[in-house]
Amino acid sequence: MTPVTYLDVLKALSAEVVLTVTAITTLTLDLAFVRRTEMSVRRRTIGATAAVGLLASIIPLWQQFGHPRAVLLGGTLAVDDLSIFFKIVIVALALVTVLISMDYDVGRHVGEYFTVLLFGAIGMMLLIGAEELLTIFVALELTSISLYILTAFHKGELRSQEAAVKYFMFGAISSAFLLFGLSYVFGVTGTTSLLAIREAVKGAAGAEMSPLLATGLLFTIIGFGFKVAVVPFHLWAPDAYEGAPTPVTAYIATGSKVASFFVLLKVLFIGFAGLEGSAFWGHFASGWTMLLAVTGALSMILGNCAAIVQRNVKRLLAYSSIAHAGYIFIGLVAATKMGATSVLFYIIVYALTNLGAFGVVAALSSRAGGDEMQNFDGMARRAPFLSLLMMIFVLSLAGIPPLGGFFGKFYLFAAAVQRDAQQFGLLWLVILGIVMSAVSLYYYLILLKHIYVLDGSNQSRIVTPTYLNVALGLVALAVVMLGVYPKPLLELLNSLIATL
């Protein structure tokens, strides 16, 4: 192993460095200069600074792209095109979140808000680059703690406080689970690097899985299950989503999900590559695919059924995101290259769609007086453009072609069927997913009914800032394009996965 200097590490992490500098700059700027200006100006100034920093961080990422894979410090930091691509995705998601936040009342502590938001982005980016258990854990904590703080930012509101406490409690417990599981994995394999774990596990393949390793695997998956909010580890999600300031909800639902799923994919597909077991109907065997199949199935059922009765838009989207985590698990259960591509494709589509949906909710709810369904009555007349965007996002979540959500879901299901195409071993999971999609259409249409069909008491026009309309419009365009023309992204992901 060639010695690694700090300079090398700094180079590899230059995007994160840019963001750290930006984070500190925003804080200083707010404290020193714009503290006394009017709130909306202050938000825009600080937000614009954060946005510039995020844009700037794309430059080093762009320059790193296309070089051969490099792994620094025994897996602490892997620099390859796939992770760089997903870091860019994270930056883009954070950027839109910043833009949404500039238009949203986040309280007095504007500088702190954007700083913590940027720290969250740094955590997610480190998480994506990590291929070593301890770094994964630390990065996950950096992300989570930033999000706990952001959730509590509605300082005067009880439900924001409750959400934050609940999110924090569940998050802390899940971290404990995760750390416990990881320690067992380390105990059995003697290493924390994912690649080395794979080798160690492979040696034991064929024999019965050792109880210690099984425990480690189980607890690791439970830990991640909390982070990505699948049933039965989902209880924090509806409250946190509802209580958090809406831009933060968007951030939790998209950025942290993308990063968590990405690292979960790495852990499972690289680290635990030999421990799949089997989730084929009638041939269940212990291993992580079976665990994921069961939790995924439960998530799809409970998420979709519970969403039907929700009357709050953010809560509805929370349950829908639990269901979507279930769909994504179908792709993971496939445990093939096609499955990996489908998962990566879907989390991108899913993140864009949810980001857009929460963005619209953030922009409209503050002007319509709340985020209950009836606040959105007749919105199609009050804010026709954002309503149209909302329709695109919601229909994409429902999986209606030609939108990205449809194609992503199709790809997930196709990957699962392809896994055991002769015996249709995973078809049960796919059928469940398809049936649950049909259920989901019901509540998505109810939401659209409020926006498009019903007439509200208030008919006044809602005007939103242009930059926000443009940003959300671009997100919607991306969602449409990913459905109409998924070829470029699919080919990119396919080629990037091949290098892994």
Binding site: P401, Q418, L427, L441, L448, Y452
Partner: protein, 509 residues
Amino acid sequence: MQVDWTIYLTLLGVGVILLLPRGSKDLIRWVALVTGVGALVVALQNYFNYNAWVNAQIAHGPLRDGFWQVVNVSWIPAPLSVQYHLAVDGINFPLIVLNGFVCVTGILFSWNIENRVKEFFAFFLTLIAGVYGVFMAMDLFLLFVFYELAIIPKYFIIAIWGSTRKEYGAMKLVLYSFVGSALVFIGILAMFFSAGGQTFDILELAKHPLARDVQIWVFPLIFVGFAVLAGMWPLHTWAPTGHVAAPTAASMLLAGVVMKLGSYGCFRGAMLLFPQGLEYWKWWIAWIAVIGIVYGAAVALVQKDFKFIIGYSSVSHMGFVLLGLATLNLIGMSGAILQMFSHGIVASLLFAVVGRMVYDRTHTRQLDELGGLAKVIPFACVTFVIAGAASMGLPGFSGFVAEYQILVGAFKMNPVLALTAGLSIPLTVAYILNANDKVFMERDQIAGGGHDHGHGDGPGSHPPLPPISLPERVAAVILMALLVIVGVYPSIMLNMIKANVDVFLRGAQ
């Protein structure tokens, strides 16, 4: 212009309408009309070219390959390998033309919509574009995409501009369609991977049929999935409620075109790809179709709501399509395809009379409350009688050519089948005449004019009804002309249908 321009022109129309200010209602209507007419002209021009080509071909013996490839490019890379593949043949061409006509006349019959005009025509044309796409798609995945594209606008059109429990009707319709498409989706995935996971292309897949046992369980998934939308008994219950709740143009589209999506999907997605599955299940299909035929007609007879009568009559007539498809002989299947066209026109016309001409003027559809309209709006009465006659299967109208052939085909398959299905004919005559009597003849309930025929509670003093407007007349005349043209001169359509059904039947053996 190639026939795929029907899709692009229609979508272009949607784009233009979205950019127009919502206040300029007339401009929006005209843009929609021009779009619809443009697409129809493209469709017709290609239709007659194809017709001439088929006639030239069959002069030299049976057709070898009836397809005109329109476009075939790679859309989604391997491992899914989806092609953007559009092609036309004698089966889908009549339906494409049908869609064009229903689109244009639907726009004309919607001329009086004042509420949210812009959104109405945007949704309407999106639906039309989706339907064009389904009829042309030769890739299962693509077909599915267009099929779903056509589902969602229906919800909004019905829920916003409909009447009578509109939200319930809209939701029921969409969920039924979506559950049907879920079945199709499962079937498509199963079929794709059973066939080796190489292609979704229908024409390629048809060349390499699957193993018999796979066919036998996948066929019903896809067939039933599509048949939900074709109003197959007992999954038809969305149809009457949906039709009743929908605004006129939407009921025209639903009964006229969308139900054909279902039966077309049954043919293209299921029957073409699973010959042995079809062989295995055909008796089930045929008998279920016959139940639907008789049941629909019988239920129509006892309805009190004018629109429900037409709604159930659609279930009955769509049963004929399924029956014809299940006969698997030339005459029966040709009849089925022609019936899709014929019923599309008839149903559009009937719904236009009920929804636009009668309901929009009288604001009631109850048979008891209507009466004597023949004197007030004679044009509506004439239209209804002509459409009704075509619906009954009177010679001289397209309905006769189609249903007669289906019954002959069914008779060849099994005489009892044909005789049972034939029971619906007197029932149809009865419910059409009954409706005609109650609405247009009998007492002068609505006719008003100040005099009261002794009905103390009758609304005898209604203000005079507005006369039938020019757009309505034009649209109704177009549709009636089609019924007569195809009825008197069926070979304009039947030649290409027969030639292509023949290709299908030879391929299936």
